[in-house]
């Protein structure tokens, strides 16, 4: 199947945007944290999990998704958020903990919610799987043709939440696609050490749903596999489990010295650059280098603009910490007690 060039260009744009975004965030993050690494110092405090090297999965899958399709993502979410269409400025403001962030500064980088495009990410392994199943359940109940996609890492395939979600999606025949991003490393633990199932998509057989493995860091191959799976879901033919090979170019989180990872492994990862590969596909389709350059430049400008804008945004008022626990008043939908006269009853 040939992916038409406009779509390839869109994927390329998503991917270069994501790559540059992670690189810029890395710079911003490390500011104020050198020479001594204090995790809570600097403009981006706390943990930061960057997805440089994983861009293909977000781009290839989200090409098939509409705004009303739901995506849940794990703690390494930015490439997926960008591909899903999350607005870059409020997302960046949230990462910088500003008042005009997606969550008013209350969520941070692991808890980005954008209801306009039905994107959410969370910080507990596999936690996004059940809510994605729930979004699929809602679609089924309403006879809508929207779908839900849950992204997770290969380190998540042993978590109960993922396995239970496969079963529930299958038995209810729900429009859900599960996408495992296999970057070989669960922080410092290689796949071989933590499971006998080296091909995560093989788990699908145990749950009576189709499993597909995409072995290369290849955005087009991912696009193809996703098209089929998402199409299957939209046609009400049930869930699919996809596993895609990606690589992690940076540490698990910023500050991770990656001493557990051999240099050879890191270099090999860098050679599998999916962006370069897609660029090759584009050139093969007759796209000029200047065009690629234009896309890259525009993407970089968009990212720079978002980051500068975010850094300019005011910090939240400390008192805001008490707001937004609930959307309704604590008392619920009424403040008044009804006035009935009740007789009898057990006394």
């Amino acid at each position: 199947m040939v992916v038409n060039t406009p779509r390839l260009k869109e994927m390329y744009e998503d991917m270069v945007t994501a790559r540059y975004y992670e690189e810029r965030l890395q710079e911003e993050y490390l500011e104020g944290k050198q020479p001594a690494f204090d995790i809570s110092a600097g403009p981006i405090p706390g943990e930061l999990h960057l997805a440089a090297g994983q861009e293909a999965s977000g781009a290839g899958v989200c090409q098939h998704l509409r705004d009303d399709d739901t995506v849940t993502a794990p703690h390494r979410p930015h490439h997926i958020a960008i591909a899903k269409g999350v607005d870059l400025k409020p997302m960046t403001a949230e990462i910088f903990g500003r008042e005009s962030g997606l969550g008013k500064g209350k969520g941070g980088h692991m808890h980005l919610f954008d209801p306009d495009v039905n994107f959410a990410c969370s910080g507990i392994i596999a936690e996004g799987c059940p809510p994605a199943v729930g979004a699929g359940l809602a679609a089924k109940k309403r006879n809508a043709d929207s779908v839900a996609v849950a992204f997770l890492g290969e380190g998540a395939i042993d978590q109960g939440a993922f396995l239970e979600s496969l079963n529930l999606a299958a038995v209810q025949n729900l429009p859900v696609v599960f996408v495992i991003e296999d970057n070989d490393w669960a922080i410092s633990m290689p796949k071989e050490r933590i499971t006998d199932v080296q091909v995560g998509s093989d788990r699908a057989g145990g749950f009576e749903l189709p499993g597909v493995r995409v072995d290369q860091d290849d955005a087009v191959a991912i696009y193809d596999a996703a098209r089929e799976a998402i199409g299957r879901a939209r046609d009400r033919n049930g869930p699919t489990l996809i596993e895609v090979q990606v690589h992690r170019r940076m540490g698990h989180f910023m500050g991770d010295p990656q001493t557990y990872r051999s240099e050879a492994d890191q270099e090999a990862a860098e050679e599998r650059d999916s962006i370069e590969r897609l660029a090759g596909d584009l050139r093969a389709d007759g796209v000029a280098d200047e065009t690629l350059e234009e896309i890259r430049t525009a993407a970089h400008e968009r990212v720079d603009e978002a980051i500068e804008w975010a850094k300019d945004q005011p910090e939240p008022d400390p008192a805001d910490a008490h707001e937004d626990v609930f959307v309704n008043p604590p008392a619920g939908v009424t403040e008044t007690e009804p006035d009935f006269e009740l007789t009898g009853g057990d006394d």
Binding site: S122, F326, T336
Partner: protein, 341 residues
């Protein structure tokens, strides 16, 4: 909102389970987005009668049996709620929360806040709670303190059929997540007879009871007894007995833990000066400590005497003499009041 006009006298009584079911059925009729999911809720009608009779009217689609897979189906309820539906998801026993607590306290309870209010989770999490029938440590807990302690969820504990229906209507209509904890012994199940008290007249029309509004179930002037759930009825029994000894006890039913109505309790203690808190949850770090501390915060000068009556910090034992020992009964409440001096 103006006070509702007094209705004609309500005579028809219901058990607490029938009152809950009446509210759920009404909301499901009014709104296609409401559905109930849980283990054995379809043909069985809920192990503790929480959905009895609803399958016939609404079918397997809306009274949904789920696999024994709490993380998946409670998390799915969160996801469905965030998509705009209004699911009611049931924990067969509140003690099973452990297998799914992440979806409950990290998603259901926190997504509204972490999203700065842009996302909300209009679901109800129902759960059967309580002991007194020898189901031992893993099937007899109430865990009121655990759920009330963690921010982001409203927590409701009805003690009568009338309260149960009004609180259920509010819970389903509320756009926030509500944990609705119903005591097994109060439901009016044939094989677990209820004490006198939870079966009350219940209006046929729908009505809502606000959260955060404690109810003075019995007025008194000598001592304030604050409690919830099953122990509302044990406290009322104790109050009857104490009256014979010339002690006038006020019994306050908290009805909700989050939000908590401390004002009603403080007002009462300002009159009586004596506070007894009765809880069917573990003593330490829970409801009894919370009520005493709240009153001390606001009315320390009026507080002359305090007693906490709760389960000791032990897993709930199986054998009858031991279970009777750890779960407070009417005599324990009476003794606590008498020991106040």
């Amino acid at each position: 909102m103006a006070q509702q006009e007094p209705q004609r006298t309500i005579e028809r009584e219901l058990t607490m389970s029938r009152a809950m079911v009446e509210a759920i059925g009404h909301e499901m009729r009014e709104n296609d987005d409401v559905f109930y999911m849980g283990e054995d809720v379809a043909d069985y009608g809920g192990i503790f009668d929480s959905t009895e009779g609803l399958l016939d009217e609404f079918g397997y689609d809306r009274i949904m049996d789920v696999p024994i897979s709490e993380t998946a189906y409670l998390g799915a309820a969160v996801g469905a709620a965030q998509s705009g539906m209004r699911p009611i998801a049931e924990l067969m026993f509140v003690d099973f929360f452990g297998v799914a607590m992440d979806q409950i306290y990290n998603q259901m309870a926190k997504n509204t806040y972490m999203s700065g209010g842009s996302v909300n989770v209009p679901m109800v999490l129902t759960a059967a709670v309580g002991g007194t029938y020898n189901d031992a440590a893993q099937h007899s807990q109430t865990l009121y303190g655990t759920f009330a302690h963690l921010p982001g969820m409203k927590v409701v504990v009805p003690s009568t059929a009338y309260d149960a229906k009004g609180l259920m209507h509010n819970a389903i209509r509320d756009d926030d997540p509500v944990v609705y904890m119903f005591h097994k012994r109060l439901m009016g199940i044939g094989w677990m007879p209820a004490p006198t008290g939870p079966k009350t007249p219940v209006p046929e029309d729908d009505y809502t009871i606000p959260f955060g509004s404690a109810d003075v179930k019995r007025e008194g002037s000598d001592v304030t007894i604050v409690t919830l759930g099953l122990h509302v009825h044990r406290a009322l029994e104790a109050a009857e007995s104490l009256a014979e000894d010339g002690i006038s006890a006020e019994v306050i039913d908290l009805r909700t833990l989050v939000p908590l109505d401390t004002e009603t309790v403080v007002d009462s203690v300002r009159t009586t000066g004596s506070l007894v808190v009765v809880d069917e949850d573990y003593r330490s770090f829970g409801v009894t400590g919370e009520i005493v501390a709240s009153v001390a915060d606001e009315a320390l000068d009026d507080l002359d005497a305090v007693e906490r009556v709760a389960l000791p910090d032990v897993p709930i034992p199986y054998a009858r003499p031991m279970e009777d020992e750890v779960i407070p009964d009417t005599d324990d409440i009476e003794t606590a009041v008498q020991e106040l001096e």
